[in-house]
């Protein structure tokens, strides 16, 4: 399955090759969960506050679908 992954703010240091907002295009095996993908990317669990699929929040144990736009989001807020 092909997916695109984005990381923001303080999580960007784990994928320093990506520009701001730039997606990482990846092939992942069928049945991969968001938590497993997080591990594969080397993102520490305690730094990921929210995970989104196509702009909607998902749980770490949810299974990824082909074509998903995925984002791992650290603690954020402001305004």
């Amino acid at each position: 399955m092909r997916v695109e992954v984005r990381v923001f703010a303080t999580l960007r240091r784990y994928l320093p090759e990506l520009g701001i907002g730039e997606p990482k295009i990846m092939d992942v095996p069928d049945g991969t969960t968001f938590d497993q993908l997080r591990e594969m990317l080397g993102l520490p669990a305690d730094e990921v506050k929210v995970i989104m699929r196509n702009g909607l929040q998902v749980e770490p144990e949810d299974v990824i679908h082909d074509g998903d736009r995925i984002a791992y989001i650290p603690a954020t807020g402001g305004g």
């Binding site: 907002g21 506050k49 929210v50 650290p74 603690a75 402001g78 305004g79």
Partner: protein, 585 residues
């Protein structure tokens, strides 16, 4: 010493220090400004007429030794933008200095009989009225500079730019920051015009030799302060090097965009293809690349979050401070502009002329939709500020905000509630914030009930942004808690760590209890906040507001918002439930 009310009457140019009456004795910050406005301002008065007042109040803990991030000043009055009660608060130097002079609130009332303009100097010896004719027409950068030359001890300067002098409905009140720049604003709702209508160009506050703030129970205060500091320093968002410190509030740009809730091109889309270019990450990159400016800037002494920034241009000279998420949304995404340098130039113009950046950016977006210029026309957008500076008829229209400009340009897509335009979260995609926009007495305002924390950021719990279920209660709980924090002098951003860390919340309340000698506990916060909301709500009702004013604009009910293609269809009865308690309790 007990706190005093400083009443400044511009009609007869007198200043009197009054004992704080029992009915106001427990209040500070927003709780005090809203109580005074409720008691002393006729809700039916014209906001620019002789009977409105501007009330300025530091919070409960402002000016105390090293209470962290506690430099917020509340400004209150009847809003020229909404026609309802308004509290807008700001960082900068003023809160701690007013508090250290032993002043609970400044009430600015009346209008000079001679039609002249004044500046007001306040220090430990009292109040001086000075002729301000030499300051008229000047921007806040110059006013701040002049005041620091004129007075010793690096005083706080509260002032209005030319837009406030012209009594425009989008005039904010500037407070200088520690570097004496005018970037800190009580921006929303046009309170700069309320100050202008008193013919006061600036209020300068020097706290040198002042009596300081009395702390009734020092042990309790210190205990609470430590718990609060520990929470702020532990939380990933607010700790040193955390999201806010490293990227500022604009850390939200990419994330709200990802969630499909970033208002774009006059609220016609929830995603902006240029979001990354105007994000907090880009601000940090520019500061690093251009070897100038800074992130992690403190907007007032004693802030330990330090979310502000100073943004440099290509040649390393400073353009503006700060670039906030709201600023980058309004002057950027909502105008289809993806150039941070232009966002910064427009921010500088807003700060100097005395404009709220949210309302201003949204107003430019309306002008774009109305055909005055194209979306994305950054040069054209920047040139509009020349009109505002000169006070041309076009400039004066634009200075009066979204609704005025929409009428002039025949635009029906007006993202306003109670006359005030929406900040940087699309309510069709994030429903809880829509409840806050609709129902808060302030008009569309994110800070008055920031449900974004649980809806997007997973802070203070986690709820689905797309559902209506539970959102009426969620918004009310946030609105009430916020009214309490807005009264404390603490920056609202302390809410993020203390929503996740219970000891921090206790500590915040204990620090307040310690200062006031008031047996208040964490479980009392919502009830105290509701006392404030009730006064604000009743003021608005007396000013003519009904439940029909607690609605989002019509176009949001029938125009689906990409990318989620959702409309706003929360039942009106649910919205009406949020404040039903005002007449039941």
């Amino acid at each position: 010493m007990t706190r005093k009310i400083l009443r400044i009457n511009m009609t007869d140019l007198t200043a009197t220090y009054e004992d704080i009456p029992e009915k106001w004795a427990k209040w500070a910050g927003r709780g005090l400004t809203s109580s005074i406005v409720f008691d002393e301002v006729d809700p039916t008065c014209h906001p620019l007429g002789p009977n409105n007042k501007l009330v300025i109040a530091p919070g409960w803990v402002s000016g105390t030794p090293a209470a962290p991030s506690s430099g917020r000043t509340s400004f209150g009055g009847k809003s020229p933008l909404t026609g309802g009660i308004k509290e807008a608060n700001s960082g900068g130097l003023s809160s701690q200095k007013i508090a250290k002079l032993g002043i609970a609130a400044i009430i600015l009332e009346g209008q000079p009989k001679d039609g002249k303009w004044y500046s007001i100097f306040i220090n430990k010896d009292g109040v001086k009225f000075e002729d301000a004719s030499d300051l008229l027409g000047k921007g806040m950068e110059e006013v701040d500079r002049i005041m620091w030359e004129r007075y010793d001890h690096k005083p706080a300067v509260i002032g209005i730019g030319p837009v406030g002098e012209r009594l425009a409905a989008n005039a904010g009140i500037s407070v200088n920051d520690p570097e004496n720049n005018p970037g800190r604003y009580a921006g929303r709702g046009g309170l700069g015009a309320v100050m202008g209508a008193r013919h006061v160009k600036a209020i300068v506050v020097d706290d040198k030799g002042g009596p300081g703030v009395e702390i009734k129970d020092m042990a309790l205060f210190k205990k609470g302060r430590k718990k609060l500091i520990d929470a702020i320093m532990a939380h990933d968002l607010t700790k040193p090097g955390g999201g806010l410190n490293a990227y500022g509030t604009d850390v939200l740009m990419n994330i709200i965009n990802e969630a499909g809730g970033l208002p774009t091109r006059n609220f016609s889309s929830g995603q902006f293809e240029g979001a990354a270019k105007i994000s907090g990450e880009m601000i940090a990159e520019m500061v690093e690349k251009r070897k100038a400016g800074m992130t992690g800037h403190a907007c007032h002494p004693g802030c330990i979050i330090q979310c502000s920034n100073i943004y440099p241009g290509p040649d390393g000279t400073i353009i503006a401070s700060p670039i906030e998420y709201e600023t980058a949304f309004a002057l950027g995404a909502n105008c289809g502009i993806d150039d941070l340098d232009f966002v910064a130039k427009m921010t500088k113009a807003c700060n100097d002329l005395g404009l709220d950046t949210i309302e201003m950016g949204n107003t430019i977006a309306i002008a774009m939709e109305g055909g005055l210029l194209e979306f994305g026309d950054k040069e054209g957008a920047l040139a509009l500020f020349d009109h505002i500076a000169k006070g041309t008829p076009l400039g004066r229209v634009l200075s009066n905000g979204v609704e005025a400009t929409a009428k002039v340009f025949g635009v029906h897509r007006t993202p306003t509630v109670k006359g005030q335009s929406m900040p940087a979260y699309e309510p069709r995609a994030i429903k809880g914030i829509g409840v806050t926009y609709a129902t808060t007495p302030m008009g569309a305002d994110h800070t008055s009930g920031y449900t974004i924390a649980p809806e997007i950021a997973g802070i203070g719990g986690k709820v689905d942004p797309m559902t209506y279920e539970g959102k009426a209660d969620l918004s009310l709980a946030f609105q009430a808690t916020t009214a309490f924090i807005d009264s404390s002098g603490y920056c609202l951003f302390i809410a993020f760590p203390i929503l996740d860390i219970a000891e921090g919340f206790e500590g915040m309340v204990e620090s307040v209890a310690g200062v006031m000698g008031w047996p208040v506990e964490a479980t009392d916060v919502v009830a105290i906040g509701k006392e404030i909301l009730k006064k604000e709500r009743l003021f608005n009702e007396a000013a003519g507001f009904t439940n029909q004013d607690d609605r989002l604009p019509e176009f949001m009910r029938y125009e689906p918002l990409p990318p989620h293609n959702v409309v706003w269809d929360m039942p009106d009865e649910e919205l009406d439930r949020v404040y039903a308690w005002v007449h039941e309790d």
